[in-house]
């Protein structure tokens, strides 16, 4: 296989693989995807700004400085200067320069997340909240458009719902192995999401992103009064704040894997398909 591909890779002009463009992503998916990218980036960075105002997370109905925090990004004053540490449960992790204490105007300062990860870069909770709550609205409206559109157009049923055969353990195992080896489907098979993509996208669109909205709303004292059930579901406002943080972290992990997969499986083809909707596949695909 490898030897057969080599000349092609080094001399693409001599033996181009015949390819054709096929429709990949609908306008709904493309537009909501990029609005989501924009909103998520801003929500993440303004969220880090808000988090920095009190970089401690609790579980339960109350949680403040004197209560036990399961996670905290702390700045310690030591004889050798400011030190940043992360406390997770009983673990203490040295994190000077990144978490707990990092450079602000050239000097180490106490701050949960570093300046390059927050909007604005300097500490300003009021601005962070204003941006966060504005883009939270845009994010939620965009998500609602995606969910309604995806249902009505049968996009979820057609493209995201795995078939029984795909969910068979043997098939799942094969997909995991193929992914690990960076073997991606070619030709006609490349027109569809594979089962790992389906499960991941469903987890993001139907679990993580809705959880971001719900845990976010649970932090609103106004909405809590109308929907006590939110507090019952998440076990209290500090718990909801923790879950908001955990879900955001999982989304960051998803984005990292997502971008890596886009890069290794044909970055320009993938990008084009999410911008123009057209995806190039090999004409003789699987026969190769």
């Amino acid at each position: 296989m490898t030897t057969a591909r080599l000349p092609q890779a080094t001399l693409p002009q001599t033996a181009p693989t015949p390819r054709r463009l096929v429709p990949r992503h609908s306008a709904l998916v493309r537009v909501t995807h990029w609005v989501n990218v924009f909103c998520f980036s801003l929500l993440l960075m303004t969220g880090a700004q808000i988090f920095n105002a009190h970089p401690r997370l609790y579980w339960g109905e109350y949680g403040a400085d004197d209560d036990h925090a399961w996670l905290s990004l702390d700045a310690l004053n030591t004889s050798t200067g400011l030190r940043g540490v992360v406390h997770v449960g009983s673990l203490t992790i040295e994190s000077t320069g990144l978490l707990g204490a990092s450079k602000e105007d050239g000097a180490l300062a106490p701050r949960g997340f570093p300046a390059w990860l927050t909007i604005p870069s300097y500490q300003d909770l009021a601005a962070g909240r204003r941006w966060h709550l504005f883009f939270a609205w845009l994010f939620a409206i965009n998500g609602a458009v995606y969910l309604v559109g995806g249902l009505v157009s049968r996009h979820f049923r057609r493209d995201l719902l795995p078939t029984k055969a795909e969910l068979a353990p043997a098939h799942l195992a094969q997909e995991v192995v193929d992914h690990a080896k960076l073997h991606f489907p070619k030709g006609e098979a490349a027109r569809r999401y594979n089962v790992l993509q389906k499960l991941t996208y469903m987890g993001v669109a139907f679990v993580l992103l809705p959880l971001m909205v719900l845990t976010g709303l649970t932090m609103s004292p106004g909405l809590d009064s109308a929907f006590h059930v939110l507090l019952d579901i998440f076990g209290g406002r500090p718990s909801a704040r923790s879950l908001h943080f955990i879900c955001a972290s999982l989304l960051v992990a998803f984005v990292v894997v997502h971008i890596v997969m886009v890069l290794v499986s044909g970055v320009w083809n993938n990008l084009r398909s999410m911008i123009t909707g057209k995806y190039a596949i090999d004409v003789d695909g699987d026969a190769q």
Binding site: A64, L125, R129, L133, L223, D224, R237, P238
Partner: protein
Amino acid sequence: MNPNAKFRDGRMTPFQARRKWLTAFAAGAGSLALAGCDKAVNNARIDATLRSAEKLTLASQRLILDHQPLAKEYGERDLSPVFRANGSSMPASKEYAQLLQGKFVDWRLQVDGLVQRPQSLSLAQLKAMKSRTQITRHDCVEGWSAIGKWQGVPLSQVLDLAGLKPGARYVIFHCADNLGETADDTGLYYESIDLLDAYHPQTILAYGMNGKDLPVAHGAPLRLRIERQLGYKQAKYVNRIEVADAYSHLNGGHGGFWEDRGYEWYAGI
């Protein structure tokens, strides 16, 4: 047919051209994002646009909260072992020190503005009125929460005693603490709420906390509890209640100490 075939004469293929454009776009967007965010935060027009979200939040929460649902009330065993005191913990003025020394016997709560019968109420008078006790959660804008037990007189009773005049829209709370640490009155803490929140059953003027007199660090002798909004609305050291048709005539014009420093007037989220 291979779409690349006819572009082999050294010109860019459509793919390559798009690639170049995308690379430039990505690089531009990246540096713009990094350098531009702080600039965008300080741009007045962007700020005005983003402020519109507050109106949307207020309008939608008003729709949901119009029937005046009660904030969750907790049990004694849910009380925070330590309730963090925030903001001022001791007003610096000589007058306050004297009132404190005299156990607030000479302290009075003024009620004025758009009212039929301006009031000057002593602590004893307030304590003689029908009281409400509630164990509720206090949510600071910073992100921490604490549960405390509050005893006080519903604000609605005090407002009814004074009688609102037509045109009354807001209730403004003037406080004794100069959190801005200014030489004049511009740094004095103040807050404002509208009548829907003022007449909410859990909106009380609290003189007791966790079964005792309200401690100085928590706003003695009287503080506001408005349980469906964030901590900065819960004005401490309240000594004057002004009923008005607007709040723009006060200090920064945004209706509160923290509102004048960039925070939203509506703090239900």
